[in-house]
Assembly symmetry: C2
Homo-oligomer: 398 residues x 2
Amino acid sequence: MKRFFILSAMLLAGTMAFAQQALWGGAPVVSPEINDDNTVTFRLKAPKAVTVQVTGDFLPTRKIQTPFGEFDAPGAADLKENEAGVWEYTTPEPLAPELYSYTFLVDGLKINDPANVYMIRDVASVTNVFIIGGDERIDLYKVNKVPHGTVSKVWYNSPTLGMDRRLTVYTPAGYETSGKRYPVFYLLHGMGGDENAWTELGRAAQILDNLIAQGKAEPMIVVMTNGNAALEAAPGESSLGFAAPNMNLPKTMEGSFETAFPDVVKFIDKTYRTQANKKGRAIAGLSMGGFHSMHISKQYPDMFNYVGLFSAAIMPNENVSSPIYDNLEAKLATQFAKKPALYFIAIGNQDFLYQANTEYRKLLDEKGYPYEYYETGEGHIWKNWRIYLTEFVPKLFK
Amino acid sequence: MKRFFILSAMLLAGTMAFAQQALWGGAPVVSPEINDDNTVTFRLKAPKAVTVQVTGDFLPTRKIQTPFGEFDAPGAADLKENEAGVWEYTTPEPLAPELYSYTFLVDGLKINDPANVYMIRDVASVTNVFIIGGDERIDLYKVNKVPHGTVSKVWYNSPTLGMDRRLTVYTPAGYETSGKRYPVFYLLHGMGGDENAWTELGRAAQILDNLIAQGKAEPMIVVMTNGNAALEAAPGESSLGFAAPNMNLPKTMEGSFETAFPDVVKFIDKTYRTQANKKGRAIAGLSMGGFHSMHISKQYPDMFNYVGLFSAAIMPNENVSSPIYDNLEAKLATQFAKKPALYFIAIGNQDFLYQANTEYRKLLDEKGYPYEYYETGEGHIWKNWRIYLTEFVPKLFK
């Protein structure tokens, strides 16, 4: 046998040397490089490029004018080229701990960093990501050496919608063998998002793993739904195949999702070892998911004991009428008469929904409905939603 | 309440219009476009580029010379620019049904297609993907309207390796509520791969869903391990964070993974409703995973009744000695004396491991050990490994 072993070893060595460059990437540069002082260096080998910029949420935003008014857009910084055709930019200051997103602009063409395999799709845009750690909160976003829960992609049948649909379900470390029943937290995404959003840019599994390991949160099941009732699953994961994400969003804020929500709860209670009662259930969501959480929790006032509205899109779609949206004030009265354990509202003071949330809080204040309020800086961004998740989860099921 | 609802609706409309372009992608072109006749058009808006090419496995390969000999490299085709700065290429012929990978080369810089959010990382390289369907086998790679199994990312503790490690586990549709026990198929990746490889480029969950729905395969659990015993998990999913994938691969073909494999089997049998005996277990792998499957199945001859070697890297690492690799022929004698239900060898006739596999089969022939052999064209590529999976799975647990 010796002979063919040596032959094949030689062949393998040859292929590996080739593969090293092709399949294995063999990126000619390191990018991004997080330096010891938490400045970050971005590099791109592009000898024929005329201009190379990096754009991302680590840069100060710049104001842009649109027909609808002034908005914040991500800033851009110029890379400089060396003799080897490698373009480089180092942030002038250390970056604060955070999960950051960025892309390059090469002669105006937006591209992902070919040296960084870590990319996250947000709605219909894919950006590279990196994390600067060293802060108690931001370190919750990392995979640390703690017991890890299971993240599952699970399909359920919705009789109300007449289709099979996909969920992301987090079960805490030890679930499989503990024999215990667990409370359930339903966590909803924003418009254009899907059942993958909270585990990707939201870092929900890492946040839960870490908060539970630190004893700051109760072990719980987290169920992340797809809030577009027209879709089976996230782009690329449904029978639509690799069609481009559909941004028409026909069934997002017109009542279907909220109407069909009890199908999800029934499926979860049938499939997992849950505490299948109001005391054992929480619901929260960001933006459109906050709108959904507000309507679902008041529509089914005996279902959820904990409610979180993160930068909630508190507004109706004026083109639709659904019984879900009727008699809002009467339904809120019923919901608060039943004394939910927590009604939590969080928003950034630069959020375009800040005013709407302020007026909604005024309504709650006028009626004497108790809620907790958590305000941050900045606006309608994942940075804030990760923060709100780390604030909300420790308050649940205690 | 009417007033603030209208205000926030206006604000939202404005932001959405902006977001449509930024976050929501708003790709200026459609790419790839699969035309009615299965030709495919690739487009890239890059008005400042001088040359734009597309490279991918849908193009004929070209021979390249390396110090180790001649190898096949993916071909490249030129896109042509129109007045609007949009570069375009349409394949001259319809593409055969297949899952294809591609990237663009813009003035020599390799980039992902900004209009296609579907990308898969293979080892340290990220490519865009698309599927041409319409063929019985290739349609198995699609998400079809059939009952779907659950895909979970699960952590287990390996006492042998002294670490927590991550698995991908597929449980078939109905597992959660059937109360039944299921056979288990352990499915191993190649060098540089990880526990995500078979569900991403391998389309294992889709293949299993579809074969089970068609009645061609038994419902089974599929366990996809990480074959690098130095690592907790795939790049980006371990406590190494978003560090670049480490291509040193210190613990891949030196015996650690094989030695610790019973830890995985014990965990699975403890955690899932399995048929916890030899009759209910299969193991197969591609390339390095075929090497692992060969060594594990002979090392533990009472563990697996079905063995699959897909383009197996049948060769020792000559720099290591491990008891796992000792007495190969004696262990094979023991394994085959116990009459495994299936020993399946598959390889492409252009594979650089073809000769090594031929000589290994010669050894089995000389000894009179029965095996099934399945030969395809082409070489050491995912196209073949998906085919071998679709051939192997229907033979299991019958």
